[in-house]
Symmetry: C2
Subunit: 213 residues, 2 copies
């Protein structure tokens, strides 16, 4: 499958590397290809392009950009390159301007996931992967044998079902929990303040939420 990864930080690199390793066709979209020289040398199977080139390439798109630039970035690549596709939105609206732990620049009665869905009404936005560290996204079994929960939400039921199947196949995710339409991004983005505090307390991102039921 052709997959676009918008954003070349830790999250984007981790997902791109894993998907290429399992034989998917991946193009990272980045503003700074020169920063990816070492990554590209180590991962010759991963293509590198501009944001627009990557978005046009993928049948499925990951938004792995920082939350404070996501909206502008996605609008800049053009709706035509994204319409009809599943956009897995990993970004969080973190505001670090008052130090650690961060607050959120949108929340409670709105969310970044909703802002993106409103800006790109022809795209199937599925919020996912925003509540855990990058290594666990692609290898949930590395913690407690994978016995923890991945929250997803979005307006398109078929897109959520398709993504759930792909995440099981690609990464071994067993507990993918659909928490509702895209307004539920208010609830999953709101987990970040606690996640960051736990990250600081335990000194590791190898922690996860599980919904016991």
């Amino acid at each position: 499958m052709k997959i676009s990864i918008l954003g070349s930080g830790m999250v984007g690199q981790t997902i791109a590397q894993k998907l290429a390793q399992i034989g998917q066709d991946v193009m990272i979209g980045t503003r700074s290809p020169q920063k990816l020289a070492e990554f590209a040398a180590q991962n010759p199977g991963v293509k590198i392009g501009s944001f627009s080139e990557s978005a046009a390439y993928g049948e499925l798109v990951f938004n792995a950009s920082k939350g404070d630039v996501s909206l502008e970035l996605l609008q800049s690549v053009g709706e035509a390159n994204l319409n009809g596709k599943i956009l897995v939105d990993i970004a969080n609206p973190l505001d670090f301007s008052h130090g650690m732990p961060p607050s959120l620049f949108v929340g409670n009665t709105d969310s970044l996931g909703e802002q993106i869905q409103r800006a790109l009404p022809g795209v199937k936005v599925v919020k996912a992967f925003n509540t855990l560290s990058a290594p666990l996204m692609v290898d949930p079994g590395a913690l407690a044998g994978g016995d923890h929960t991945l929250f997803i939400c979005g307006n398109d039921a078929e897109a959520k079902a398709h993504l759930t199947a792909l995440l099981g196949e690609w990464f071994g995710w067993r507990d993918v929990l659909d928490v509702g339409d895209i307004t539920a991004a208010r609830a999953t983005e709101a987990l970040l303040p606690l996640w960051v505090r736990l990250f600081m307390k335990f000194g590791t991102g190898n922690i996860q939420f599980k919904i016991v039921r």
Copy 2:
């Protein structure tokens, strides 16, 4: 131990009943003692008083009132009745004015727990029990053998350690996770929007967060 329960709804009644059953001395504080006639008949070991009488009685106080009246209620009982005591704040700042699921009337850069601590600086506020249903508060073993997480936070380390010991002794809590000072109430109160969505999805409050680590 003499314990005050401020608030006579489901949460207050459940905690009062359980504590009386295990031999603690409990007084519920309520504005409407007549509404508790049946409960009082079934639980003769639980005393019923006004908010001020209950607060004065307890060595440890539970705030089991609704979030939108907590501040006013606590201020009305008088600082002298609360100073120096542990106040277990269970309330959440839920705003149901726009229907279900609720939003929060304070959050992100402040919290109800902090508002209460600021209003009553002589009280040892420990935020706890605000992220799960009343039956599980007093019987965590009823779900997954108790293998899930209770978040607590507050400014007084000794109060948190004391409460952690009591919750283990009284109810069998094994995973009480101290997430920081009272500002961490921003993070734990922010779990409610997800909790309510899960409650609606699964049609039961017999669900819980666990931090896998």
